[in-house]
Every structure is written in structure tokens, then in C-alpha cells.
Symmetry: C2
Subunit: 432 residues, 2 copies
């Protein structure tokens, strides 16, 4: 009797989790491996970074989501290598045999070769990133309250967000809201509403993936919140208390204590393992070029999905690194595995684009859904509903909604905690 | 014209925050200094350590609590020294002049001279402690799931709580609940309900400050949850994967991957500053001996309250280090300052003891309130109500209640996140 087909899924993000869930009725034995014990709803991470939500509001234990699905087990672990001939994934503490491997390890920040910027301008990919950004924002206001020199105060109250994609736009909007509403009356020496928030984008418009009229509306919404938007402006250097930018021929040094990074991303470093061990071809940002069925051309039993995959069979450019793409690809590979087991052919992966949206502060959003483009209050409501529905796998989405409604009506952001202060004497004895 | 009387309050815990709030109608200019930007509701910290609540549920920004009180300002800072003649507190980055100083810096863990134990057995005083304990508990189950050697699995699934005070009892009860209910069906190789939870206490009974019959009831409740309670058992050593204990003549080595510390506490190190600079007398655990009006005998303008104060004028032993004492002392010093400004005498501080309570798991608690002793469901309800009412300064207590009710009925603990993994490359460039 042959053994049950073994599927190993690397990564519990949108792609990996949806693949595991879609395997529910497929006769396989699946193992989901992630470094973290939770799935993170990344689109709301900027709310954690700005104190509106707690990490647990947007993260749910993977074991809990999958506990009733008996053909999946969850392992906390990190993939470090691959033996494609022996069909084994090498983890940092052991290895795992597979018949089909699904790689869904996502992406991380990319500082265009300037890795020294990562400490000066944290990006927003993990819970720890969000807590670090929250800490920097809050500490800047606290230091300003203590400071007496006007130019130092101005530096402390200048916040620069690099990158005009959805993350950058949402962060800048939330920052403006904090300065104008949340912190009002809380300080005695400074007026937080005097904070200066800059959004710096290298290309001619923000939300470059959206239709031009929505980019225009996003800029108008940001400006009405007090955000200074500077397009066609390139970052040339980041220093501990300043950022250097260039627009056209002009270079400018902007003193700023807080710089946040919402610009480049690159595929997980595991793509290099796929290139070296399994002959995968990578693009400029490390994404793996996949066949029309999301498999490696050299190894059809290895499937790559989500932010790590470069799928360029439908359009001129690869599909964008968004949750929708990853989720649809997760569902597709489950069907592909099922079809292969049954000896059925599977048509190539096709992305159904339902649209995209971004929110700007408390009331405004821009949306391009099912071919309709809209902005303002209505777009904001649509954004809220769609995100709440997508939280469907989170048992506590009513609580998240309540938390949100509360913040919305009170202007309060209860999760404004400065935690994880640098403590030199804290060390860990437990290894995982 | 004389300047407004300046009050500096060090510490935003129960004592310091209540002092600041009680100064509302007193004609002073108060400054509240804390290392953290939030007030922490410590009695519920064990719920964060066991994934039931998020940090923001039990912490509230000090600025937010005090924003409408115009005669108080809040500073993020740490007191490192004192100039009692010049009446200045020295902060790590500057100094502050006072006319009256209120010292309310609380207490920290005390490892009876074995400071090397602190890394092996974390205590529960801060948000970071709670997140570290949560991480260790969850990682132990994760590692057990990966392990194949039965004796290693047994070590990983053994949890030892040192100290049978309220913190130890509540932690052990919550741990038992996690193992038996929350994690059931989430693992494939191990059965979390086989976890072994030990509560180790040196004295003859747990909850030693409570009446003996309540201690007995607490032990029975813990046992019914599956907790092994070992009284008259002293810890002789803690090692990375074991704890050594002695009962009577017998020494035993208990292999255990997770050891949590709920035993000794000592006063904030600032008490040594008070001793050296201002002639304060300290007791064995560093508490400051205060006059009947909570002032230093050598410096009546310096008042010490809460866990840092040794107030021994009413009973044989000093008042216990609990929130009730700190809150009443905070209110008292505000009245004392007011009376002094008006030239009125103030009668000595008197503690009104309303009783005490501890909860054990989901249904049981023990309480000794207003002279009534009770246990079980009724005590648990009383515990719940009193804690919710005390969260009164937290605008979001309805949300906390909702979160709680949710966890209660679903057995789920949504905040089960393993965060703050040791990352060697994470460093901080922002100083506070």
C-alpha cells in the first residue's frame, strides 16, 4: 500500500494558510511549517504600529485555525535548506520529507543595497516591526515634551514615511490622525498637532499601481489631514537625525528623528536556496519564476506562491505581492495537488482581480473595486467591511470591530504603549 | 508672590497615579515621572502571561488618564539620584526641582541573592516579563510537539511555579487551564493535558497572608485543576532544564523546561538613593521606614508610598505590598500636602483593609472581604466584579470585559502569540 501523499507547506501567511485550508478534503498528510506560531493579518499591521489595535487583534494562532483539520499538523520551525532529489526540506533542527512542497515564505524589506538604513528607518512586516515603530513614534513626542531647544523640537516632531505604496499612505494618514486628534491635550509643553508628516515617493505619484485619478484623490485626502506629499523625490541618505532627499537637481537635508520605511520589498532569502539547490530562476528582487501552474520548471513537485512567486504569464509585469494573489494561489495549488493525485489535468492559474483599496485616516479611502473607482467616506466604509469579512478566520473579529469602533468614536488609541525598551541585561535561555 | 508649590511624583503605579489624581483640586503644580508611558494594572498581568489578555487591555497611557487635569504634567524619565538640600531629583537626562517629593517606585523581583536565577526563572512584574513568560510557556509546548524522546517531552511539559502567593497561585491555575482546555486538539504528537504543573512554596501553606481555611480551599481548587501543590518545599537550585528542591531532609531534582518565579520581591533600587542621600532607614528587603504620615523622619518633605514604604505603625508587620495600600497612601499624601499648604494638622495614615482575594482558574476564587470568607463560584464572581470596577480609569474596560467573556465561553486565549524572538541583529538607535 502506498503511503499517504505528504505535502509540506513552508509559511503560514495568506498563501500557505489558504493552501492548508484548501487541502481539507484532499487525501494528503500536510505539514505547515512557520517560524511564528500565528498567522498575521498584515493589511492591518499599520494599525498596530500606530497604537489603534493590539497585536493579538490581528494575529491568530495557526494551531487554533487548523485544529479541526485532522490532515494538517503545524510545526514551529525555520526552513534553511533543501534536498530536492531526496525530497526533504532541511529545517534548523531536523528535516522533513515531502512528496509535494509548497513554498510560501513571503517577502521582507529591501533597502536597495543600503542595509545600514534598516536600523534608522524600520519597515513594517512583523509584529516586532510594528511595536518598534509604535515605540519610535511615541518616544519622539515624549522627547519633544522634555526638550527646550526649538530646532530639536522641530526635528523630534518631524516624521518621514518613505514610499508611497499602500503601507506608506496608510501609515502617513494614521500618523497625522495621532498628532491631530489622539494626542491633543495630552502634552503641556508641545502641541502635537504641530508635528510635520512627510510622505516621500520616488515616482511621479503615490499608489502607483492604482488608476491615476485615485492617486490624485489619495494625495488630496492626505493633504487635508496635514501630510506633506513629495513625489518624484528620491532618498539619498538616512542619518540618525535626518534624511537626505533629491528632487530633480535639488538636494535637501530634512532634520527628522523618525523615518519609517514603506518602500522596497524583496522575496524571502529561501528563494536563493531554491535557485542553488533546485535550479530556480530569480528576478531582480529575488522572486522565483514559476510555470503557469505555479511549479518550478525544473521540479514540478515544488510549488511557489504568494510574494515569493514571479507569475508573469497573464500580464507584462508579474502579479503584485498582495494578499488576494497569495490566497488565490494557495487555493489553486491545493486543487492542483488534488488533480495530480487523481491523474486529472489542471488549467493554468488565473488571477481574478477584484480590485484594490487603501485607507487614509478615519474617513477617507480610495478604492478600485470590480471596475468601480471611488473615494472618500463610501470607499472607507467598503474598506472597513471588506477587511472585517476577511478577518473571518479570526474568531475574535467582533472584538476587533468593537475595539475599532471604540477608537473611532473616542479618537483614542488605547494600545499606545512604549514597550520593549532596550534592556542590555535581557537574554534568552530558551531556544526554539 | 511665592511660586506655586511644586510636587514631583516618581512612579505612575497605583500609588503615584492615585496621588496625582487626588491632587486635582490642590493648588500645586505636579509632575509625574515614570520610565514607562503607561499605568499598568498589575493584578491582571498573569492573564497577559497566559495569553488571555493583550498588554493594551491592562495598560493605559498615563497622559491619557491625566490629560484633563491641568495641574499635572507627565514626563517620561528615570530618577537616578537626589539632592535633598537643593530639593532636586536627578533624572538620567536632567533634573527637576520640587517642594514636596512623592516616591512611589514600587518593587521588583528578589532572588534571595541568587541573581543568576533571574534568567532561568523569570518573574512577573512588567509587560515584557509577561510576554517573555507567555513565550516560554508556548515554546515549551511547541518543542514538545517536535520532540520524540519521551523523557525530553516530559521535561518540556513540566512547568514549575515558585512561590505560593497570589501571583503564583493565579499563574498555576491559568497554566492548568491552558493545558487542559485551551490547547486541546491543537497538537498531533503530544497531549497538552498531560502537562505537569507544580506549585512550590517554602512555607506550610499557600496564600500565607490569608486565613488558613482559605489557603486550604485554594489548594483544593488547584488540585482539582490538576496542579500539584508542594508546600514546605524550598528551592535550592535552578538549572537550564531542571529545578532542585528540598522538603525536610529530602532533596529532589525535578526536570522542567519552564520555571516561573512568583516568590520574593524587593523595593525599587531608588530606596538606596534615599538611604544614602537623605538618611532613610531601609528594612531587609529595601523598604523605607516611614513616619506615621508617610514622610521620611529626616526629610518631612519627602513622602514614600506603596510597595517601597515600610509602614509598621498599625500592626506588628509592615503593611503588605498590594494595590489597595498604595492607592490609599496616594490619596493620603495628596491630603497631607493640601493640609500642610493650609497650615492644618493631618492625622496619621490609617489603612482600611477591605480584604483580599485570589482567583484560581475559570470558576474558583478565594476571598476574605469585609470580614466574610468565601470560596468557589461566588468568590470568582466577586473577584471579576471588583477587578472590572477597579479598571474604572481604563476607558476601555467594556472591551476588556468583552474580551474576557469571549475567552471564558470559548476557552480560547486569542493572545497566544510567541513574539520578541531573540534576534541578534535587532538594535536600537533611538534613546529615550
Amino acid at each position: 500500500m502506498p503511503h499517504t501523499h505528504r505535502v509540506v507547506i513552508l509559511g503560514g501567511g495568506f498563501g500557505g494558510l489558504h493552501a492548508a485550508q484548501a487541502l481539507r478534503r484532499v487525501p494528503v498528510q500536510a505539514t505547515l511549517v512557520d517560524r511564528r506560531n500565528f498567522h498575521l493579518f498584515q493589511p492591518l499591521l499599520y494599525q498596530v504600529a500606530t497604537g489603534g489595535l493590539s497585536p493579538a487583534n490581528i494575529a491568530t494562532p495557526l494551531r487554533n485555525v487548523l485544529k479541526k483539520q485532522r490532515n494538517v499538523r503545524v510545526l514551529l520551525g525555520e526552513a534553511t535548506g533543501l534536498d530536492p532529489l531526496g525530497r526533504r526540506v532541511i529545517l534548523s533542527d531536523g528535516d522533513l520529507a515531502y512528496d509535494t512542497l509548497v513554498v510560501a515564505l513571503g517577502s521582507s524589506h529591501h533597502y536597495f543595497g543600503k542595509d545600514q538604513w534598516s536600523r534608522l528607518a524600520p519597515g513594517l512586516k512583523t509584529i516586532e516591526d510594528a511595536i518598534e515603530i509604535r515605540r519610535r513614534i511615541l518616544v519622539a513626542f515624549e522627547r519633544a515634551e522634555r526638550e527646550s531647544d526649538p530646532s530639536s523640537i522641530r526635528t523630534l516632531l518631524t516624521f518621514v514615511v518613505v514610499g508611497g505604496g499602500p503601507t506608506g499612505v496608510e501609515l502617513a494618514g494614521a500618523l497625522a490622525e495621532i498628532a491631530r486628534d489622539t494626542l491633543s491635550h495630552e502634552f503641556r509643553s508641545i502641541d502635537p498637532s504641530h508635528a510635520r508628516i512627510l510622505l516621500v515617493e520616488g515616482s511621479p505619484r503615490v499608489l502607483a499601481a492604482y488608476p491615476p485619478d485615485l492617486s490624485e484623490k489619495a494625495i488630496r485626502s492626505l493633504r487635508s489631514l496635514g501630510v506633506t506629499v513629495r513625489t518624484e523625490t528620491v532618498v539619498t541618505d538616512i542619518q540618525p537625525d535626518a534624511i537626505l532627499v533629491r528632487s530633480g537637481e535639488q538636494t535637501e537635508r530634512i532634520p527628522a528623528a523618525t523615518v519609517l520605511w514603506g518602500a522596497g520589498v524583496q522575496a524571502s532569502p529561501f528563494s536563493k536556496v531554491l535557485a542553488e539547490a533546485a535550479g530556480a530562476t530569480l528576478d531582480r528582487v529575488g522572486r522565483v519564476q514559476v510555470s503557469p501552474d505555479l511549479s518550478l520548471p525544473t521540479h514540478p513537485e515544488i510549488l511557489v506562491i504568494g510574494d515569493m512567486a514571479s507569475f508573469a504569464h497573464e500580464r507584462d509585469s508579474p502579479l503584485p505581492g498582495v494578499a488576494q494573489v497569495a490566497m488565490q494561489q494557495g487555493a489553486y495549488v491545493a486543487r492542483l495537488i488534488h488533480d495530480r493525485l487523481q491523474g486529472r489535468p489542471t488549467s493554468p492559474f488565473r488571477y481574478r482581480d477584484y480590485g484594490m483599496m487603501a485607507t487614509i485616516g478615519r474617513h477617507a479611502a480610495v478604492a478600485d473595486l470590480f471596475g468601480f473607482r471611488f473615494a472618500g467616506n463610501l470607499a472607507w466604509l467598503a474598506w472597513l467591511c471588506i477587511h472585517l469579512v476577511q478577518l473571518v478566520q479570526f474568531e475574535n473579529r467582533l472584538l476587533v470591530f468593537a475595539q475599532w469602533a471604540w477608537s473611532y468614536f473616542t479618537f483614542n488609541r488605547a494600545a499606545r504603549l512604549i514597550t520593549n525598551l532596550p534592556t542590555a541585561d535581557r537574554q534568552d535561555t530558551t531556544k526554539i
